[in-house]
Symmetry: C2
Subunit: 320 residues, 2 copies
């Protein structure tokens, strides 16, 4: 995506009609899926239309309200999109957040990022003690938490795959992964065989493409692949094909996609699981906060160039 | 595979030692997996070694026995391989078959073929009434049974994919499929969208490659893909890559490989399910019997050129 795909427009701050709420946007979550929604075709949500506000999850504070259940000053988690003020109407997803939680945590470890990692490891990978666990995008928001959760849940070995030596050092030295493969300088397929000589029991895939193919080539019998993301393909009209799907047969393996949207009614379960680990300092997560909506396009692109570690958040304004 | 990969060797008929059984081979099952076992690398079974007998399932009759549980004249289902006489020793898989069943049925509808279709539809596709069900290799041994089972279990639509108009006519007119796509002359992806406008709920894949990719492009939310075979890839060192795996995320879909070897202890369950359907004439299956072991290599190759309908069996000799 180039910046000339987007336009910055100034408009008057809208006034809420009956049953609407006006909110000032505080922070926006920067997620690979933002780019999916900008594709021409619909995905799991309708494509963002030409002329519409870029869709994004975020936190906002109520400024004026004509709707029951929302009071001025309330903190709301929802889909404000890339704008300074958000007019919330009937059907929009929005949850008032109880006070006392750190704003950046709500968009990272207790938001889609941490909760995605939780259900990917628990439900889709169905991690068992002793498993050889591999995660790509290991230094990203989701991947860095997924690897730590796997380790805490008793994985025999946790291997990350990331795009720089610095990232690899971070996940091994700071987050406690057992090993990390730099896919830009190492032969991923060969290293996976070395590190997981009995095969991979659970692979948490954030990238798709060639790295998914390397993991498919080295599965253990009964392996589970959680397909969480395919960031290597989102910017491409002609993604690299995966050649080793027949290995799913040989290894009686399962490959399953999931979306955190399907777990909205189970968020609390994940938060209750994550909170003690955070409180005891057993779960580390990096958050980089970028100031200013004008930096949103360039920040989103950094997800695709790999130029970031941990969760990216755009900050628009402070709480009143 | 070319015939010069193989050698026909005459050797004396062996005499069974203690705990061994000598059998005369009656029939051999011709399966795509025979080709997998001939690849250089190990698969779910060790690769067939240079100089060894080609591995294949089949039926044989006991000629001489020095092992308890086997009597002269017993019919035995196991892995005799491509040879006229089979010396059964300790660890070989072998089951004595009760009398009264048709020999060709034991290698087709009640053998790996029908039972694979049964568990693929029941367990892996987890077929629900109303599902849009698609099967590739639809005129093959497994595919032709899978489509009929899906129909009998209440699928909303059953679509086959096969390689000739004759095969398509057979599965629609004789087997009761709702539609069939000739992948050699039609645009599979476009036809799948036409035939399953709400997306495919269950796809039974026997071929992999481009056809798998077309199915992945048109999944319904919550779709299940049973990866039973990938015949388009077995003869290739550089198979065509599958580009649409990211759709597993968008559609929260599951793709799972399976092998009938893992269901050996549940064969009876499938046979008890299949037998009444066969008896009532609700389940049709084609069997082509080719005479003579010398025709085995050419017959195996016909699986890959698509030059067959239904189950291929090589007949070596009659029961005594």
């Amino acid at each position: 995506m180039t910046e000339d795909c987007l336009d910055r427009v100034e408009e008057p701050i809208p006034a809420p009609a009956d049953n609407e709420v006006l909110l000032r946007v505080l922070s926006l979550s920067v997620d690979p899926t933002n780019r999916i929604w900008m594709r021409e075709e619909d995905s799991y949500l309708p494509a963002v239309e030409i002329g519409a506000v870029v869709r994004a999850a975020g936190l906002a504070e109520v400024v004026e309200t004509k709707r029951e259940g929302f009071a001025v000053g309330d903190l709301v988690l929802g889909m404000p999109g890339w704008q300074d003020y958000w007019l919330l109407s009937g059907d929009d997803m929005a949850n008032v957040i109880p006070p006392g939680l750190e704003i950046n945590d709500l968009l990272s470890i207790y938001g889609g990022t941490g909760v995605t990692a939780w259900f990917g490891v628990e439900d889709i990978c169905a991690l068992e003690p002793g498993d050889a666990f591999v995660v790509s995008g290991a230094a990203g928001g989701v991947g860095s938490v997924a690897g730590q959760l796997a380790k805490l849940k008793g994985a025999g070995i946790v291997v990350g795959i990331a795009g720089s030596d610095d990232k690899c050092r971070w996940v091994v030295d700071e987050l406690g992964f057992d090993a990390c493969i730099n896919y830009k300088t190492e032969d991923v397929a060969a290293r996976l065989v070395e590190l997981c000589p009995e095969g991979i029991d659970a692979y948490f895939d954030n990238v798709g493409g060639e790295i998914l193919d390397a993991a498919l080539a080295n599965l253990a019998i009964g392996a589970r692949i959680a397909v969480c993301g395919a960031i290597s393909t989102y910017n491409s009209d002609d993604p690299i094909g995966v050649k080793n799907t027949a290995n799913l047969i040989m290894k009686r393996a399962r490959m399953e996609g999931f979306l955190i949207l399907d777990y909205l009614d189970r968020f609390l379960e994940a938060i209750l699981g994550l909170a003690p680990l955070v409180a005891e300092g057993k779960l580390k997560y990096a958050t980089e906060v970028v100031d200013g909506l004008e930096n949103a396009p360039a920040t989103l692109n950094r997800l695709f160039t790999g130029d970031h570690t941990g969760k990216l958040i755009i900050k628009l304004s402070e709480r009143a």
